[in-house]
């Protein structure tokens, strides 16, 4: 957004939702800390779907992912006054979400019952009756497409956790290596090597299905 819009705004007047949409994340944070109540709502609107997808692709449990997205926003809300405005807000919020996802996986690995429930839930989802949502596809194409997607999903789930996080951040969320390094708290070199290994393993798993 043009910097002038933020400057032009009369002090003390609440911004309209349309005006808030024009602000970048850092300006929204400043607006919220300055008493602009709806600014936080705008931040939630910007990030909740993306974070849900990121956490879901990392931990593989939709309901639990939603809880963790809630927890991410609660932590942001509590600590927004401590946010360093020289940093990128999106990196900060992804760091919080990524740490929560990591903790979740760690706890889950210690609790076989939770692991069993997650596997069962995924199995149930994989074995739903086929929905004919797209009539332009012949059943064979649709079946193949769905089968491939399921296999791709499974391939990503099979990646070791620290490879999967990097893979999802890069391939789905489009983060740069530097951002991934900040979010995951590892060096740039480690990001590169994890991403390379993740792509390699991913290719090994899906190759037989694609050819």
């Amino acid at each position: 957004m043009p910097k002038s819009l933020a400057v032009q705004h009369a002090k003390g007047e609440p911004r309209s939702r349309l005006e808030l949409k024009e602000l970048n994340d850092a300006e929204l944070v400043a607006e919220y800390l300055d008493g602009g109540r709806f600014a936080f709502q705008e931040l939630v609107g910007r990030y909740h779907d993306r974070l849900l997808n990121f956490i879901y692709r990392t931990i593989g449990d939709r309901d639990r992912s939603e809880d963790l997205v809630q927890e991410t926003f609660v932590r942001v809300y509590r600590h927004l006054h401590r946010f360093d405005p020289t940093k990128k807000f999106s990196t900060w919020i992804y760091t919080i979400a990524s740490n929560l996802a990591k903790n979740e996986l760690r706890n889950r690995s210690r609790n076989p019952m939770v692991l069993f429930q997650a596997i069962k839930k995924n199995w149930d989802a994989d074995h739903r009756p086929l929905q004919w949502e797209d009539r332009s596809y012949a059943p064979d194409d649709l079946f193949r497409k769905r089968h491939l997607r399921a296999q791709v999903e499974k391939a990503v789930e099979e990646l070791p956790e620290h490879h999967r996080v990097v893979f999802v951040l890069r391939e789905m969320e489009g983060k740069t290596y530097e951002e991934i390094s900040e979010i995951t708290g590892v060096t740039l070199g480690t990001v590169k090597s994890r991403l390379n290994r993740a792509r390699n393993k991913f290719a090994q798993i899906i190759a037989p299905m694609l050819e």
Partner: protein, 192 residues
Amino acid sequence: MPGRGLLVMDCGEFLKGYSDYSDGLRTPEQLRDFDSHLRECPTCARYHRVVRQGIDLFRQLPRPDASPDFLPRLRHRLYHIDDHTVLGSRLGGGAALVAMAAVGLLALVWLPFASRIPVEIELAPVAVTVPASSAEVPSLFSPGPFVTPVIYERMWVGGAVPTIWERRSGSEELFEPLVQTGSSAAENDPSR
């Protein structure tokens, strides 16, 4: 092994640097070496194809939608954070008053035992009025020397409660009107 002698790099080098190549993070000269290896080596070409196709499919996976109660639930949680913050600071103030009252009471109790010095002081007579029943204070130290009806009233009626409600109305409005899903997140994200 495809025409190994003709290639600038071998398959091991290709795979090792594959991510850099894939993300365009090498010098133009090095990228050309990768390109030429891909043209000459069917194994690595297949690998590259599989990764690209797989990642395309991965990006097409349906994104989960937040459940309809996601925002109301979040709003509720944030509302309790506001509530807790205001109450916490108010209770902090109340606790200080109670502590002061306790110290005062202890001082009163201990004074006769602590002062062993045989000094006789003539105290002025103290007149005590019993508070009206409507102004009774449910205090631990009733009738307390410090927690008076006026202070009590200030703590709970004149002070904390309106402040909480002011804050509450604020956090309730935090999400009014409700956020629409499918926001223009991407266009506002500097990382995109």
